[in-house]
Symmetry: C2
């Protein structure tokens, strides 16, 4: 069964759920899972929310985030709902334990998993789909549900800055704000909760800036991690800062994860497809956001990446 | 006459307009003025758009920005519309030359100027008021009008991140996106058009970071301006970066405008009122954003500001 109506019927008919989202969860996956569970519980159903990696610090402000279990709950006859991904492996869940399964996701299809599948790759966030499902179910949108869904949408549209922002995402955000979501509070929690050490790492990272024509390179070395007592996940979003520059079309961000192993994040503007660049190095991603791993010392890795950029895009 | 209906009648009845906004214009003033002029012209009326300071580089992408005149147009029997300010002096215009005058603004009242006055301090952006006026006039919202108004709203709500964001601003943004505004294109033009030198200045500025408890201090010296060939206006927004840190409640940003004269920008989170701090040094502003000038060498100025922060807020 495919589509929204099938998903809504599934949610209406089942009474016990395990709701899960992908590992390394983001605000869209977690906010969607929490909102869905809160609404279903208010309808008298039972829900357990599972995410292998739990809730990263930055998302702890999501209402009822303490509900998220890090241990796979036993299936125990419940129905499985996979959110913001469409392959059970992405959520580290044993899908065969479940008799009834549904997928609600806005990513390109990676598998044909799910007795019920509602997949809309053009929708900017899974949170938008969950909102429409809840409306169809007649669920009341409480302040806590609204906050979870607004955060989900904000994360996946860059608070309505990305080119995926469409009229419906803004209209849903308006309705969520009416239902009690506070855009200022949510944005402060999403964007202004860095540790001092993380900010110092950003300062060091920006000190490494090198601009070659329309390509920027920035680096975090193992030494910088050590000096600031930070970790790889503290570098989230660093790759986007050089894009502030008008003439920078590709931002390359290198992190030393182990001696001579570099995690490379790539971002681009407009039509430059950095997924192709990542594929050269056995990585992957989307047109404007991709990544890969490259071995070698820093000078060699920079040379390899810049060489590939020259070849692929003539930059 | 007061309120929306009076303003709409004024726009409907008059046939020739001078539309103006405040000096040092921002996206809300310029976008509102351009959108209003385009809509009135499509209705067969004549409009001249005036702003003493013209259009800053960052706003040149606004459709028809080349319409903005830097020289006061002669009144010549036209009606005056003052946008995004409510005192003619703020727009550097000789209001006595005009027989008919109207004000459309979302700031607190500074004067009782205007035969017709529509002032709504609770509305996040003048662009929202102009949108509602155009709908009431039955004007067609073209892609160019929608782009100008979306940009206006985006600037004054920080693309829906500030606490002033309300359901209506999001709903209007949805309708503007439906009418052809492209959120991704507009955000790229607003936020990703820095010069390389400006970004290098930011990197240097961040290198100066000093965190004292919940207060951050960053500095741009005359030497940094010289090394990067940049100017005071290139430092716009720098003061906000340290607020990324969770524990930073007050961000102090010092710039050396002349030998031993420092322009101090202040930003705060939550209830800390930095306007009070600015007043200590004969400056001013709003609760969370204020500024002042302080004389002395860097060490002395830092000491004075930190001392006042300790006294006022106990931080």
């Amino acid at each position: 069964l495919n589509g929204k109506d099938a998903a809504v019927s599934f949610l209406r008919e089942q009474s016990r759920f395990v709701i899960t989202t992908h590992v390394f969860p983001d605000g869209d996956g977690l906010g969607s899972a929490l909102a869905l569970s809160l609404a279903l519980e208010a309808m008298g159903k039972q829900c357990r929310v599972y995410c292998r990696d739990g809730v990263p610090d930055v998302y702890e402000f999501l209402p009822h985030s303490e509900k998220v279990l890090k241990k796979t709950p036993p299936a125990d006859g419940a129905a499985l709902v996979l959110l913001d991904c469409n392959k059970p492996e992405r959520a580290a869940i044993e899908a065969e334990d479940f008799d009834s399964t549904a997928v609600i996701d806005h990513h390109e299809t990676e598998s044909d998993f799910g007795q019920v599948r509602w997949i809309e790759p053009r929708v900017p966030a899974t949170g938008i789909m969950v909102y429409h499902a809840l409306k169809a179910l007649g669920a009341a949108i409480t302040k806590d549900i609204a906050t979870n869904l607004y955060a989900a949408i904000a994360v996946d549209t860059g608070t309505f800055r990305f080119s995926n922002t469409d009229p419906d995402s803004l209209r849903v955000a308006a309705e969520l704000t009416e239902a009690g979501a506070e855009p200022g509070y949510i944005s402060e929690n999403l964007y202004q909760t860095w540790s001092e050490n993380r900010f110092k790492l950003l300062c060091m990272n920006m000190g490494s800036l090198d601009v070659k024509g329309s390509v920027s390179l920035t680096t975090v070395t193992a030494e910088m991690f050590e000096l600031t007592n930070t970790h790889i996940y503290d570098t989230e979003n660093f790759v986007n800062f050089p894009l502030l520059m008008k003439d920078v079309k590709v931002s390359v961000f290198l992190r030393e994860t182990e001696k001579n192993i570099w995690k490379v994040s790539l971002r681009s503007k407009g039509d430059i497809n950095v997924a192709k660049l990542a594929e050269r190095f056995h990585g992957g991603g989307h047109k404007n956001a991709a990544g890969c791993r490259v071995r070698g010392d820093l000078v060699t890795v920079r040379g390899k990446v810049l060489g590939a950029i020259r070849e692929l895009y003539g930059l």
